[in-house]
Symmetry: C2
Subunit: 385 residues, 2 copies
Amino acid sequence: MFTPVYLDWNATTPLEPAVREAMLAWLGERHGNASSRHEYGRQARAAIDEARARVAAAVGAHATEVVFTSGGSEANNLFIKGAAACLKPGLLGISAIEHPCVREPARQLRRRGWAVHEIAVDEAGRIDRDDWLALLERRPALLSVMLANNETGVLQDIEVLALEAQRAGAWLHTDAVQALGKVGVNFRSSGVHAMTLSGHKIGGPLGVGALVVDKRIEIEPLIAGGGQERGLRSGTENVAAIVAFGLACELASARVEDESRRLAKLRALLETGLRDLDVVVFSERAERLPNTSYFALEGLDGETLVARLDRAGFACASGSACSSAHPEPSPTLLAMGVTPEVARGALRVSLGRGTTENDINRFVAAYRQLAGELKNLTAMAVAVR
Amino acid sequence: MFTPVYLDWNATTPLEPAVREAMLAWLGERHGNASSRHEYGRQARAAIDEARARVAAAVGAHATEVVFTSGGSEANNLFIKGAAACLKPGLLGISAIEHPCVREPARQLRRRGWAVHEIAVDEAGRIDRDDWLALLERRPALLSVMLANNETGVLQDIEVLALEAQRAGAWLHTDAVQALGKVGVNFRSSGVHAMTLSGHKIGGPLGVGALVVDKRIEIEPLIAGGGQERGLRSGTENVAAIVAFGLACELASARVEDESRRLAKLRALLETGLRDLDVVVFSERAERLPNTSYFALEGLDGETLVARLDRAGFACASGSACSSAHPEPSPTLLAMGVTPEVARGALRVSLGRGTTENDINRFVAAYRQLAGELKNLTAMAVAVR
C-alpha cells in the first residue's frame, strides 16, 4: 500500500495503538446497551462512567459536566442552538474565524430572530479588542470564540475573554477541538462556560466528542429521546468510541508538554526551510498551536499545490478540510485582511505524533522544487501572454 | 469472563465478525478525513460511497437518498424537527407507541406551535383505522409511524398507511430500526417518504444510522457546519462505522428470509414452553417481528424478573432498554389498553443471530422455576397480610 507522508493532523489523526486496543474490547465479545439492566448493560455503563471521569480529569472539569456527543460539530451545534432555544431571541457573538459548525448554526439562529455579531480579528487572527468590548456593551446572551483556529492555529486569550464575558453576563463557549492535546486545556481555570472536544483530532476515534458545560446553562437537546446524557443527548451510547475517547484524552493530556515542545521544533525546522522563498506565514507573530504551519507564496495556487504534493507523496491541506470542497479563499484569512490572491495560495501543514524530522526535510525539499516549477510555469505563462 | 445468555437483541446486538473485520481496516492504518483532497481523503470518500450504495441496495433506495447519522435517535430527530423547521407550524401525527426519540421531538415541536396527535392503537398494538382516517381528514403535514415496535414487535401495514398519507398530502416517516434485518424492508415499495435505520440493531456498530429520505422533502439540518451529507448532516464522516454499517445492511438483507424463519421457530418453542403458565403474550395475534416475545404473568414484577434472570445468567428486558431507568409501566402497553398491573409484569425476550435452541430451553426452565418461586412468595405475602 502506498502511504504518503501525512501532514494533515488538524483534519484527522490515525487511531493510537493503545486507544485502538481499548476500543477493540467493545467491538468484540463485550457489547451491551448501557441502559439495559443486566450484566451486559451494567458493564457498558461502568465503562462509560470511567471514560467520562477520564475526559473530565483531562480538561479540569467535573464528570457530571461532560456530555458525550457524536463529535465536535454536534457539540458546537448543541451549545449554540440548545442554549439559544432556552432563551428569548437576543444577541449571539461569534468570532469571524469560527469553524462552519459554529457559523452555520449561528446563521440558523438568525432565522429564528437572533442577532448575530461576527467579532472582528486583527491581521494575526486574534480577537479585535475594540470590537469585542463594544460587543459586550450590547449585552450578548451567548458568545462563542474558538480556543485555537483550525487553519492558522492561532490561540485566543480565553481566560481574559471568559472573565470579561462573565462580567457582561454572557455565557462563553469555546471550541477547543484543535487545542486539545496540542496545548494545555483546562475547563475550570479558563473560566469558560462551555467547551467542545473531539475524539479524532487527538488519536481517538471518529464519531465521538463532548460538550463540557456549566450546569447553570439550560440546554434543549438536539437529539431528544431516551434521555441519555442527563437528558441533553439521547441515543444509545457508543460505548467503544466513548471508552476510546476517554483514554485518548488521558494520554493526550499526559504528554501534552513534551509533545508540544517536539512539534514546535519540527515546525521551526519547516518554517526555517522555507524562509528564503518569501513565503508569508500566517499568524507567525501570534501565539499559535505548535503543530500548525499555514503559509502562502504569492502567485501559487493552494489547490494545485495540494494536488501536486499529493502526487509527490505528501498529504496536506489548502485550508480546513471541511471547506476543501469550496474553492473560495479561506474566510479565516479574509477576516484577517489577507488579500484573496494571497489567500488562494495558502497551504496548511499540520504535524502530529507520527511526524518525524525526516518527514519535514523531505517535505521542504519537495515544496521548494514544486514552488520553483510552478513559479517558472507562471512566469512562462505571463511571458507568452 | 461470565457470559450470560443474551436475549436482548432488540436493545443492541454484538458486532458480527465480518463487519468487525471491515471496520478494523479503518481503525488501523487506514484513516482520513473524507473531505481532504489527498490520497487518505480520497480513500475515505470512496469507502463511504461504497457503503452508501450498500445501504441503499439493502433497503431499495437510491444512494443519494441515504443520509448517514450517528444512529436511529438522531435520524428520527432529524426527520421530525428538520422537516418541521421548513414548514409553517401545522399538524404532526405520530402513533401512540413510538419510541421516545420520536415522541420527545414531537413534544419539542408542540412548544414551537405545532399540534401533535397521537394515533390510537388497538389492543394488539396496531394503528386504529378510525383514528388514523380521522387524522388524515385534518390534513396533517407530517406523520411518523414505526414499522415494527421495539417492545411488542408489532408490524404496521405500512404500504397502506403510506398510500393513504400520500393521498392526504402528508409526508410519512417510518422508524424501521427494529424491522431491518428481521423482516423485509423496502423504502421504495413501501411508499414511505422517509425511513430511519440503525447499525447496532443488525450486527453493525453503535454510533451509526441513516435517514433515508425522499428528496422532495426539505429538511433543515440538526447538525449544521461543513456541509457533509448533502448539507443535511455536517461533521467529519465516521468512516469505520459507515463502512461497517454498509456491510451489516448487506448481510442482514441477504439472509433475512432464512433468519426470520429460524427465529420464528425458536420463538414458537419459547412461547409454547410458557403456554400452560397463563402468561399473556402481547400482540400474539398480530403480525410481529419473528424474534420478539413480550409477555407477562399477572402478579409478577418485570423489574424483579429481569434482576433475578440476570443473576441466573439470562439477559433480557422489562420493556424497552431506553426507558428501563423509568419504572413506570410501558406506554406502549398502556396505549394497547393493558392494565398497569399486567403491564408492570412485562418481560421482553428478543432473539438474534446467536440464539440457539439450547438457550431457549434453558430460559424456559429458568423462567418456570422463577415464576413458581415468585408466585409462592407473593401468595405467602398475601397470606401473611
